[in-house]
Every structure is written in structure tokens, then in C-alpha cells.
Amino acid sequence: MSKIRLKNLRHSYLPNPQSDEDWALKHMSVDWSDGGAYALLGPSGCGKTTLLNIISGLLTPTEGEVWFGDEEVSSQPADQRNIAQVFQFPVVYDTMTVYDNLAFPLRNRGFDEPAIDKKVREIANMLDLGETLMTRASGLTADGKQKISLGRGLVRSDVNVIMFDEPLTVIDPHLKWVLRSKLKELHQQIGTTMIYVTHDQTEALTFADQVVVMQQGEVVQIGSPVELFERPRHTFVGHFIGSPGMNVLACDVDQGRPVYDGIALDVTSKVRVDDPSARLEVGIRPEFVSFADQGIPVTVEKVSDAGRVSIVETRNGDDVIKLLVPDGDPVPADGAFLKFDPDHTRVYADDWVVSRGSNE
């Protein structure tokens, strides 16, 4: 096991990349500490699979270096990098039993049978596969098979990193909870570095200690789930994380305060904008907006019952502002006003944050 460092990576699938769009991965350097639980989060086409394939060795980067501990592995093929990978769809040997499927990676590496037996049973128990060990894999459901794939990824304790590429896509929501908490539990027990690639924010935020958010070939923020939620550095992070995402509204800044639609908003520390031509926006999550006796005048357009909370869509002129109201709390009919929580009101200049909260 070792720390993984990506230094000045760039990658293009084209022979002669010229413009910015030609790069699937723009310039990036990321360190993954040994034993961390990471998620790589972003929409389709953001470059997360490219990045994963560079780490695993399926792809050689156009520029930059990949280091595992003290060794540069940039040009080392995948099979020499000592990593385990779990894919979106189950990859199992249908004719083998569950036991033999799990034992396969260990037998390949020449472990002796008693050691294999111990490890296979341990992993099978963790994944609740203990009772089906002697069953043929072909008889299992899609989730059963994906559990085997997960098990095969987890069975070797000598790997540098275990990588999961959207591993829960084929799994039912009910079982997703179970497997996700299982993976998290396994990470706590095994302590191997894990990188979990997904477009699903819930999976990323619940699995990882550190989430790497990517957009258009760039890392826009690396942070804990709490940091990403409370202090999005970029409007994309605000939008992509959270459901619904952050409200982003055009604003001005006057005497260190954001001014939205002629109303000066409270913030906990003064906002400084260095570039006078920058496009300014105020960002506030629906969780931190509430109805008030005065403030921003809005009309209520739509109330969606999400069970635990209602998602309320309001309108001020051309802007839609969403807020969350706890189940059972009243929603005013019309002539309503909104207030923003000052500690979570952020200002963005050309999409990057320029304001800070009180504890930063």
C-alpha cells in the first residue's frame, strides 16, 4: 500500500491537441493519501473514467506522472500496478461457484489454499455471501453477481488501491443502502485506499472522506462532504451537490455586501472583489433559505412533497429561488418574503467563490 500522486497530468485522445476542448483532462495534480476513502464525482463526460484509467494503467497520460509511493509507474502496464478494480456491471465466471470466483485473484497470485480459504470466507461473510459459497454464480441475481465482483475486488489485502467504477448502478435502491454502508464498513476494517467513481452525489458523499469533484476535465474542488456542502468553491459544486442544488442569482457587491435585486444581503464577513469586470453571483442553498416577514419578495410557484421536506419553488421576477420546508410547516400562499442565512450566503465572481463564512 502506498500514497498515490498524480503530477501535472494532462490527457488528450487526439494526436495533436490544440484548443482547450481537445483535452479530456486539463492540467491537474492530485495526491491520494494511503488508506483514504475517496470519491471521484462528476457528470458523464467530465473525465473521471479517463482519470481512473490513468491510475489503473489502462491509459498512458499524454503528459505528467503517476507515482505509487516512491515509484513512478506512469508507463507501467495495468497488470504490474497491483490494483483491484470493480466495474459497473458484474464480471464473474458464471460456471464457477461463488467460492471459486472469490478465490480466483488469490489463486492467480499463488497463495496457499488454507490462506485462500480463510480470506474467502472472511470476505464472503462481510458481504453476506456465506450461504451461497458453493452455488454456481450463474444462478444468482444481478445484485448477487455484483456482490461477487465487489468481493473479488476486496479479497486481496496487498493491493495499492481498490477502484470502483459506478459499482452500484445495477443495484436496487433498497440494497444500495446496505451495500454502500457495507463498503464503508469494509474500508474501516481493511484500510486500503479506495477510489469510488460515481455521478451520484449521495453515493459519493456517503462513501467518501474526501470527494474530488470534476467538471469538463478539471478538478473544481477536493473536500469533505461537509466542506462541499457548506463551502462550495465553485458554482458547479453548488449546483451538482445537493438536491435541489444551490440557488445562484446575479448580484452586485456594494461596500462589502452582496446586493440582490436592490436588497443588500447580510454576510458574516466583508466580500472583496478584485476584478471589477467579473460576473458576480450570490449562491445560497435551499436548505439555508426560509420564509420571513420581510426580505426578498416572492410568489410561491410550486410545492413538491418529498416526504421529509417540501421543496418549494418561488419566483422573484425572472429568478426561481428554491427552499426546503420541513414536513408539516406552513407555506405562505402569496405575498411571501425570503431570507438567506448570512453564514451560508456566498458570493461568486466568474463562478469562483470570493466570500467566506464566519469560521474560515
Partner: protein, 353 residues
């Protein structure tokens, strides 16, 4: 205009895929089929569409018995989880295909495809082929084809399942608006309780080939008739435990008790079910009892804390607003909101809420 299933049963060999089902869909509304994979949602939709014939029972549409009438002879659209488009046709021709089959005039086709493309924000893509589109645009093309036909019945089988999270959010928002005022009945299958709630309308919860309940979506969520329905309609999973009622008190785990006031229940054993967000890390202002559990896993999603804990050998889930410091393996206090428990009696029927 509406569709009714009367005592519909579907058997394949010795297996019963759909048990006797009686449902009358809400006309011109969203009708959601909510259930896990293999609950029978797709089979039921195929029976509704005429892609499968029931082993027994009848399918009525618009006051007419259409059992056995094949899908081609019904005015039905079906959108699947995998985006199905003609790869060699342009987006325009993909959307126009059902109109061409129906022999519509060129002018009519242009006008209707144009209108639907505008609605689904596909106008700039009309000249492209499906392969050049994003997943969301491909699925919107498939939806456009279903819309352009002016079908009486539109069946959407997990149409958003293969899309990115954010795209799903966006299309889920748009869908009810798209079908509003079109005079068609929509059936929408999903595995996700939150999706069902946000789409609103009416829902049929499905479990092992049976419709367990049909009615207003939010009503089913708040008052499920039985325990399987409560389980189907809860994500994360609903907590279930056995409680005993004696002397006006519910007793749980021999030591925790709370009054049963006003519920009119007879003494005896009940199964109590409570959603994770009513089992919280802080007591709040509501009526509660304290539970002590050992933390198994803690998930902090940014805005809330989800904690899996062990309580008397059962795995429970708690969901609290905000970020809480949780230590795995430690005995921790959780607060159960006793006003929000559902009580199920024999046969898992709801007795009190």
C-alpha cells in the same frame, strides 16, 4: 379516458408473475408503479399495453374490453429504461416515425415534430443522429416520439434510470409539466420512493407480483395499508421492531415504553415501523423516547447525518439534519418520535398511526 385491470392474472408455466390485480388508473394523471426490481412492474405495464395477454381477467380501456387486442391496434406509447432510437435516422425522423407509420401529411408531421421538439428542448438537435447526443438528449428523443403520437396511454418504464443524477432531477421536474393537459393517462414505473413522491399523482405500490395499495401518492406514503407497502415506500429502509401493548403502554425491548393514548388498540403484540428521519440524534421538540444503540456506520452527506446502529440485534437507521460527530462502535443515544410510529397487527395490516 382510463384503463382498468379486472382480476388480471399472469402465469408463466408454474410461476405466477402477477397475482389477481384490480386497478382503475386515474385518468389524465401520473400513475406511478413503485416497487423493487422483479416486483412485477414491467409485466404489469406490458399487460396494460397489450404486449402481453393476461392468463385470466380483463383489460378495459375507455369503457371497452381490450383484452387480447394487440399493441399495434391500441393508441399506446412505451418508453423504456434503455433509450431506444433508430441510430441511422436523424432526431427529426426518429420523432416523426410514429406519424409516418400512421400516414400523417408532411405538413402535419413538420408542425407536430417541431412543437414537440420545442417542448423537449431538442430543436437544435433535430438534424443530428442519436449517437451524437448525450444520454439525456437521447432519452428526450425517445420521450418526444411517445409524445408526438398523442397516445391515450403512455407507459414509461424507469425512463430516468440510466441518466446522470442531475439530469434525472431536471427531467423529473419537467415530466409532469410535459404531460399536463395532454389528455393522456401516464403510467410511470420506478424503484425510487423519492421519485414517486416528487412526481406526485397516484401510485400503486408493488410487491412480489401484487399491487399492495393504490391511491394518492402522498397518502400512501403517510398511511400505508400494510407493512410491505411501508417497506416499498421507504428509502432508506423503514425501521421495524416488535412492541407489546399492555396497560395503555407500548413496551419495546422490555425496558422502553410510551403511552398508546388515543389509538384504540387492544392489548397484544404489534409490529411498529418508523421512518429513519423520526429516529434522530437530537430530541427536538417532539414527543420522544430514548434508544441506546451501538453505531455500525455513519454517513455524513453534507446536510444530514445517517447513522446505522445496532439495537437489540436489529439494524436500525437514523437520519438527522445537520452534521453530528459520530464514533463508530460507540453506544449512542437516539430519539424516537413516538407520534410518528405506525403499528401493524396480524397479517401486517395497519392498525394505527
Amino acid at each position: 379516458m382510463t384503463l382498468a385491470l379486472k382480476n388480471v392474472i399472469k402465469r408463466v408455466g408454474a410461476d405466477t408473475h402477477i397475482h389477481a390485480t384490480n386497478v382503475e388508473l386515474a385518468a389524465n394523471q401520473f400513475n406511478i408503479l413503485l416497487g423493487t426490481t422483479l416486483a412485477g412492474k414491467t409485466t404489469l405495464m406490458q399487460l396494460m399495453a397489450g404486449l402481453q395477454t393476461p392468463t385470466s381477467g380483463e383489460v378495459w380501456f375507455n369503457g371497452k374490453n381490450v383484452t387480447g387486442v394487440p399493441v399495434q391496434k391500441r393508441n399506446v406509447s412505451f418508453v423504456h429504461q434503455q433509450f431506444i432510437n433508430y441510430p441511422h435516422f436523424s432526431v427529426f425522423d426518429n420523432i416523426a416515425s410514429p406519424l409516418r407509420v400512421a400516414g400523417a401529411s408532411r405538413k402535419d408531421i413538420e408542425q407536430r415534430v417541431g412543437a414537440v421538439a420545442e417542448l423537449l428542448r431538442l430543436t437544435p438537435m433535430l438534424g443530428r443522429r442519436p449517437g451524437e447526443l448525450s444520454g439525456g438528449q437521447q432519452q428526450r428523443t425517445a420521450l418526444a416520439r411517445a409524445l408526438v403520437k398523442d397516445s391515450d396511454l403512455v407507459l414509461l418504464d424507469e425512463p430516468l434510470a440510466n441518466l446522470d443524477y442531475k439530469l434525472r432531477e431536471e427531467l423529473r421536474d419537467e415530466l409532469p409539466r410535459l404531460f399536463h393537459d395532454r389528455g393522456c393517462t401516464v403510467v410511470y414505473a420506478t424503484t425510487e420512493p423519492t421519485e414517486a413522491l416528487l412526481l406526485g399523482g397516484y401510485s400503486a405500490t408493488m410487491h412480489e407480483g401484487r399491487v399492495t395499495q393504490f391511491g394518492n401518492t402522498a397518502d400512501i406514503y403517510r398511511r400505508p395499508f400494510d407493512l410491505p407497502t411501508a417497506k416499498v415506500f421507504s428509502d432508506p429502509p423503514i425501521n421495524v421492531a416488535e412492541v407489546r401493548l399492555t396497560d395503555g403502554k407500548f413496551i419495546f425491548n422490555d425496558q422502553i415504553s410510551w403511552p398508546s393514548t388515543g389509538r384504540g388498540l387492544a392489548d397484544g403484540l404489534y409490529r411498529m415501523a418508523v421512518r429513519p428521519h423520526f429516529v434522530t440524534l437530537d430530541p427536538g421538540a417532539r414527543k420522544h423516547v430514548k434508544l441506546e444503540g451501538r453505531v455500525l456506520v455513519a454517513e455524513l452527506s453534507g446536510s444530514e447525518s445517517t447513522v446505522h446502529f445496532d439495537l437489540g440485534g436489529l439494524a436500525w437507521v437514523s437520519q438527522s439534519q445537520g452534521i453530528h460527530a459520530i464514533e463508530v462502535g460507540k453506544m449512542t443515544d437516539f430519539f424516537l418520535d413516538t407520534d410518528q410510529c405506525l403499528y401493524f397487527g396480524e397479517n401486517d395490516q395497519l392498525m394505527a398511526a
